[in-house]
Subunit: 462 residues, 3 copies
């Protein structure tokens, strides 16, 4: 807590100092967009498209909040909701101050993003000075909601036992450092996107950049904070701990699916790129197929139609299609979506049964497992109709090499930095709520209120 | 179950065979949209509009899920949610494989939709070959979310007693056959849209194609599966069986209302068609008026402000304006919306008290009753300002003839095919869950989990 | 009730009379938009942008419904939901019939809005005659959802004890009279927007027009209806009465945040105005900062991370940035958002502890407190990059004078008309539900159903 306050104070002082020197007086070449629009009459359409898509991605935060709220026990619901709400705020602010500059500095995509190298960028801090420009600001918005998505994936994995203070610190740091640096390598002009195999590593909308990063960092968090009391039996086999509200789970999944139509098609940053219709359809088909495969699998295995498996299968399909969505044909989206729940369930079982890590909502399987499958799928199914990316089905073997390199890299980066980040937090502020708090639920001790307060008797004076 | 698996296997084989021959190698004239955009600089705007509208329609699935979840009893909530989630997945896949080709084949609207006649289309299967084109794919997306809407209307009507396996089979078949064929008649170049009365049968956004089809097919499902245990007294008068969560009901209605702004204005498929503002406003006015009329009706009749009646009244107004939304003036939207809840309530009472069919959520009144009223309203209120469609208020009598023919047709087609479909399912896999399952609720026996699991004691080893 | 029915009948007769004379036969210059589009090829883009933004603002109604439903006790949830659902319907209809004409008549912005003066407008009633035009209708839609937002703010403030009939009457009248007249002064060509200081009073998206009006009118409602039984102890100090569902509160806040991306960027009414990216980013930054500041404040004060405070802090940041969103730089949005929860909490404490008014959901602090701060902030932080509006940081002192005048005016107008409106309703139909109804909850007596009905035993005949 005190560390955080000191950091916050320091942060405010730094911001203020930076501001008075450079921000109030400086602005980019086109802070109101008049020049940009005059130069490109399609700028309005593409900006509207990008922003609206970004709004939909933002709304996915509500989906994650509901999905996770349903999957945790009632006694920890307020804790989960608080994390889920605050993480996008923290990540948004750190991505504004630092992350965006680390990620897109040097990309030269828009004004104020000039300085950077193959490993990291160094301009665009605080959207100030040359970055106070309609295009630079637009790109920030779309990228920020992606960073916030990566951040909030972790909330469900460490739910029901991580302290809120540690989680807030984590949220700030993933948006400032971990997410942007890997993002720089793929999307910001860094070394992965420019690999000399195929078209370089491709990840259209972030199966790797967003989902695998979130899933791997969260795995380290879940490991270092330890499993919930009672998750594993003495012999190491897992107990199933049920959530408390299936309506929230399904509603959250619907909202996520809805938001994905911003996530994937919006990643063109342009509605003048008509491939958006194929991207939207691929997104739908993969998500729908994932759900159908998962529900029939569960019926075959247990005789029960497991709706939670269907939701996760659907999300796995969506995560898997996120990287290849622009590069493949609809039939391939169905195949990718059909395989996704298999990968997801295998990854989930591996984490729970082999690694004995307590990933409360099964996010590693959905986001990292299916995310890696999505990266690989580009190397197989890309059909050359878009962006000159072609995979094995077109007889091209170079792309899959680039994809494999990016898969190894994202795993190493996510697990490595996740370990360091949560390791430092564990040593300094501590990760774990006290045992009694966990047994009774974190809501009252950490937040002072339950998710479902019961009415009190009418107070005196009534 | 086994039948389904065999069907699924057969389906996969057919798909695979089709794919290896025609899909991997074949593509439409413009799979990435470069040519289309070069030919029409407004293509980006219109595609963005259509896709975003489609996203909103997709989100209506969440509205149906919440609305129905609130209207059923807690013990069947997981069952309802599973149906509501899986039906759009199943319908989406069957519409991809077959439905779209049956509906728009022969319409020649876009590449790959060439073959068909006045009764049915035969090209565009799997979005493959010539149909792998940005425009064809765009239209598919918008049409698919409509098909999925029709499908999910049924979930609420047969809730609380239909087996999940039968429901999944139904969902596949409505999207493959029932919905597309009637749709072909009205929107795909078929005989209803080209009737020699007025401008031919008109149904701008689907009061008939979507809502009346859903409501009539569902009525046959509800009839053939039989009423819930306890719905009707021995003397045949109905008992009121309350749902379990009013917050879900109202939230679901809000989401549906929101999604309707995609449903109706999006049906122009073009933002260059500025009538979209009138359509949006008509949509709002009819929905708002429906709610207001319903709430005052309930207050006059019972002294209580019945929020469920208001929600249904609002939805009835929205369904009713769906067909005429583009053809009428705002004042007419108010009139159409005011009459809609009267029609809806009369239809609902007729189903429950005369037909003694147990339509759990009252969807027949909302979707079929108000849907038919919407078809008729075009013949009365169309004012000639758009699409050259004019009704009685302009002294034109031809349009209402076309509308009446389409009303009779949609009733006959929906009830007829619904009867055949659910009749076959009843004879083969069976429609009804066992009596004990129904009494205790379907959630545990069919899905293995309740909607609101209670916390277990801390497991041994804690 | 009877008064309402008479009013309604009168209303219908007036409408009908007006209609048969002027509406059926008359239409504006361009009811289908063909001429408008021919004259301005960007009209489609800007209309799509405005409508989609309006859809998002409409969806905020669902956010208010959920937020308030969570903040009231379970026993009054149906009552709150009914108000929250019906108010936008009533306001929408009264804004259609009267409000829009009072607000934009004389603005000459579009066809049919010609007649009016600096105090009030007088044309555009019923969107009829010359106002039946695509542009006039588009503007109506966007403005109507704003009016409905102002209306629904009040629902939470008077919750748990105001009669539904009185509330419905209020909803009609705020949309017909109170909201539009102040709106006319600022946005409709009235005297505030044309003040000879700075650029005249500015309120880009309605911190004052929408939020402060809602908050001040609601304060009078909450005062005149009196506090809930048990809210204040005999010595006048307040009791805390908890809501009943934190998941609804957080979900509602997420939806509101999402909808705000329509509210603020949409207020350009044009996507060709590329400032929309800066507006979206400012909106996000202020909302995120408000939440972060509020959560750390609560942790410092009580050691608990108060999620309700964070939600309100976030909303306060969003309300505060609503007026200045287009005129300030991102860094200023952070500062405005950081200060907003301080103003909001001070205003809330003042209302509860000094005025001893029972504002159930704390809406006065959020909407009026932060709203006034937003109006002021333009005078400080506007940086001259947009719309030629510059404040103190650019060395300009004129703007803040105009802002201060508008702040005094909105307070006087909102409190004054709110007092008159609720005073009249109190004298005529009465505001307060009977004491026994309030003690047992309004849901059964006013609505005949609880929010969470329990299953009955299987009825006889099962």
């Amino acid at each position: 807590m005190r560390v955080l306050l000191k950091l916050a104070t320091l942060f405010v002082i730094v911001v203020a100092a930076l501001m008075w020197n450079t921000v109030v007086l400086a602005e980019g070449p086109d802070p109101n967009g008049a020049d940009t629009f005059a130069a490109n009459p399609n700028a309005g359409l593409n900006m509207a498209w990008t922003l609206i898509a970004g709004f939909l991605v933002f709304f996915m935060q509500a989906g994650f909040a509901l999905l996770g709220a349903g999957l945790v026990r009632a006694k920890n619901t307020v804790n989960y909701l608080t994390k889920s709400f605050l993480d996008f705020c923290m990540t948004g602010l750190s991505f504004w101050a630092f992350g965006y500059a680390f990620m897109f500095g040097g990309s030269k995509l828009f004004s104020g993003l000039d300085i950077g190298n193959a490993f990291i960028g160094f301009s665009g801090f605080f959207l100030a000075s040359d970055a106070y420009d309609v295009n630079t600001v637009m790109l920030w918005f779309f990228q920020m909601v992606f960073a916030a998505t990566a951040a909030t994936i972790v909330a469900g994995m460490v739910a029901e036992r991580m302290k809120i203070t540690a989680y807030l610190a984590y949220s700030f740091l993933i948006g400032a450092i971990i997410y942007p640096i890997y993002g720089h390598w793929v999307w910001g002009g860094g070394w992965l996107g420019t690999l000399p195999f195929g078209s370089g590593a491709r990840d259209f909308a972030g199966s790797g950049v967003v989902h695998t990063i979130g899933g791997t960092v969260g795995l380290m968090g879940a490991w270092l904070v330890g499993p919930r009391i009672g998750k594993f039996k003495r012999d190491g086999t897992p107990n199933q701990i049920k959530g408390h509200n299936l309506v929230y789970i399904v509603s959250g999944t619907f909202i996520l699916f809805f938001g994905w139509f911003g996530f994937n098609p919006g990643s063109t940053l342009a509605a003048t790129d008509l491939r958006i219709s194929v991207i939207a359809v691929n997104t739908f088909l993969a998500g729908a197929t994932g759900a159908v495969v998962a529900i029939y699998l569960s019926m075959m295995r247990t005789g029960k139609a497991d709706i939670i498996a269907a939701c996760n299968g659907s999300l796995a399909g969506l995560v898997a299609i996120t990287a290849p969505c622009a590069y493949v044909a609809p039939w391939a989206a169905v195949v990718i979506g059909a395989i996704a729940p298999l990968v997801q369930q295998a990854a989930q079982a591996f984490v729970e049964r082999r690694l004995k890590i307590d990933d409360v909502v099964g996010a590693f399987g959905v986001h990292a497992g299916a995310g890696l499958w999505g990266l690989l799928a580009i190397g197989i199914f890309a059909d050359g109709t878009y962006g000159d990316v072609a995979g094995l089905i077109k007889g091209e073997g170079g792309q899959i090499v680039a994809q494999l390199i990016s898969m190894v890299t994202v795993l190493a980066w996510g697990l490595g930095t996740g370990f360091i980040l949560f390791g430092i937090l564990k040593k300094t502020m501590g990760l774990r709520a006290p045992r009694e708090e966990e047994l009774h639920g974190l809501d009252i001790p950490e937040h002072g209120i339950e998710a479902y307060p019961l009415p009190e008797k009418e107070p005196a004076g009534a």
